[in-house]
Symmetry: C2
Subunit: 478 residues, 2 copies
Amino acid sequence: MYPNWILQRAQLTPHRTALNFEGQIWTFEKLKKISIERAEQLTALGIKPKERVAIMGPSQPRLIFMMYACMHLQCEMVMLNRKLSKHELEYQIKDAQVEKVLVDDEDNSLLPDHQKPLLFSEVESSMRKPFEIEKEWSLDQTISIMYTSGTTGYPKGVRQTAGNHQASALASVLNIGLTEEDVWLCAVPLFHISGFSILVRSLLYGNAVKLYKKFDEEGAVEDIANGTVTHMSAVAVMLQRVIQGLEERGLRASPKFKLLLAGGGPVPENYIERAHRLKLKVSQTYGMTETSSQTATLSNEDALRKLGSAGKPLFFNQIKIAGALSPREMGEILIRGPHVTPGYIGHFSEKGATADGWLHTGDIGYLDEEGYLFVVDRRSDLIISGGENIYPAEIENVLLSHEAVQEAGVCALADETWGQVPAAFIVLKSDAEESELMQFCTERLAKYKVPKHFHFVPALPRNGSDKLMRRKLKDLLK
Amino acid sequence: MYPNWILQRAQLTPHRTALNFEGQIWTFEKLKKISIERAEQLTALGIKPKERVAIMGPSQPRLIFMMYACMHLQCEMVMLNRKLSKHELEYQIKDAQVEKVLVDDEDNSLLPDHQKPLLFSEVESSMRKPFEIEKEWSLDQTISIMYTSGTTGYPKGVRQTAGNHQASALASVLNIGLTEEDVWLCAVPLFHISGFSILVRSLLYGNAVKLYKKFDEEGAVEDIANGTVTHMSAVAVMLQRVIQGLEERGLRASPKFKLLLAGGGPVPENYIERAHRLKLKVSQTYGMTETSSQTATLSNEDALRKLGSAGKPLFFNQIKIAGALSPREMGEILIRGPHVTPGYIGHFSEKGATADGWLHTGDIGYLDEEGYLFVVDRRSDLIISGGENIYPAEIENVLLSHEAVQEAGVCALADETWGQVPAAFIVLKSDAEESELMQFCTERLAKYKVPKHFHFVPALPRNGSDKLMRRKLKDLLK
């Protein structure tokens, strides 16, 4: 049994800064008090310990208070991605069979229309009812559930236990170190593991989080140049904007700034080289929802020597390449460790996440002679756009549900800003305009998933067994 | 399952310095290679995986190689205290039912005469035989066994599992932080948890250990003043000598030096104040063999504000006072956490270490309003002399086995150098000289346990039920 992180952290370092948001400060003691108050309000409103709830809102303190309240209640939190369409949210809420949806008033209009959520404001103004706060947590209790798509295009709810999160945070600290002065800039979504893991680390490490509601290039550049933050998590597009911001202003990263953790897809090599010139230390990471954040991380010292690598596994983690007998042999990347999810909920709850204790990522890669991981190809033709994962099958399913569409294939096209964007290749059975299909997708898919390009073609490339060959779609453009 | 620490550390940071001894350097890769070689040599000499072995030697690299070899073989290592008498060693070796005793040639003469140990030199010059190295360890496998005495005076072999050691190292890093430059000075015995835990931390953290064969005041003072080490573990008598050394040479601790972890008994307040004047950061800790090192630690910032306190529990640990309903109420100190031993071996294997999941320390203390622990009185009249625990009952048992002794009582007397030393109060049944009793004890007890003072008295203070009142022994001196 391990202590309730929120209580223990407040007990150990009550007066340290836990959260900084738009200049306002909350200590760990304050966070504890508010989160218990929220938990009592949720109790008064009928939420019971260990129930499953969904939670949605922009990145601001009230969302963190609500999450910590749910953690006190040991509720399983389904983290809803606020970029999703109503259709997509509907699917997840139904699949997860949540007792209640908790939503920041700001995001209420994003929910499916028939939902009767509990608004944050209702909770915040509610009466309080005491509950028995659990002082100890078991490592196998589920803290969070995050949906991720897969080969089939149907999102799967991934369980992330207290043990997963804790192992991830502990393995990370053994890699990147820790001092009392550490402040982590969080401008990645709290509903993704990249953001939520910053909160977990803060509770375990006792360090401050500087939270941004939205990524703010100017703010981040200043924070990094002044050393008011020491760490930052970013996807490639944010890293690019930070680099450009520093370059344009003729600034460099402060020596106090220790690490920008770059995840959510590959980082162009050119960024790494420019970052080095700006004294901006960047570590590339490889991780996924199923591994509660980082599995491997490339240290800054190795960044130039091992360009393109995602580094070595963190201390508790193991990586192997299926079928590989020697270095540089390519194959599916398999992962093992205490950070790997025990499995899924809902429709995929029968499907184990691992085979023989190893998570089969579907990603293709190799380990070099020194054990550095190189990710060569993403699972299931995965498209990564601005750090968000997009599975072609999910978009194809939507397109195929349109009456005019005979066949649909989706693949990634390179994009200056987002790294990649989805493009659709369509065989029509009756007339339809691009604008009509785009509108159709926009109603059913998160904006970042809506194809940026539509190409009408006479046939799609298929193999002998008639399987769509997504990698050949791009050739149709020639 | 967690990775074999030695293999994983060598895989992640092969070229970092792991060990520095008398100017010679070993990297983690080197340590791995040598330890596997030793394991193969042990295999050739008939040691099988998971067997229980005893191990003894002075603090030097060959002892570490041998320990790590045993860890590769997943052998349970009984760590023999080389200060013990042959009688005492005999008891432990027999109680633990070890398959083999591994001993540094230097210490062979310290073993009971009939023992047929395996000398380190024999292992080092042996042929090698391959074995299947276990790449994963389970948290509940026993890594080390350390004997500690108790109320009865009969030493108990305490199991310390991989999970205990790992939890201890991880909780400690969350408290004291970590940077790549960290170097830990180890001049405390490797057979005690204070020393062995430095090795465990080094493997998990990837930091260097500067090992001293014996505590060397001049060397330690230089290391601290020059910043060639960043951390040091010490008992009060070593701390005192470091302080005095710095004072006499007009030196101060380097700003690079981060922390002297002072354990193994109370630290006089005067030391703390002098250390502060020397910019020497000192953290007092409270721990014991059963908790695989620190349970609570007082941070340096709190050192003066909370003089006399052992601090707050580390992140995974819980402390409560039996029966206490409010702060400052005194009672037995109870401990809970993943660092607490699952139990004992040998004669006491039936005796659980915990009740309801809590370790009953026998120590008396209280928690103040802020949750800081104050240890008021040690368990079972425990005497702590230079960081070594001495249980009066153990010495009394020896004295009572002397034909001239009718009754014997042992208690602590304050001592300038050692903090405390044991003193014996004796009722004779026939004539005996002090020198004779001293000689008798010297043959049967570790030197540090031999009473420094003998007082012949007509009767011992006893309570109504005739129980010896050790705390009243001192009054006999008046």
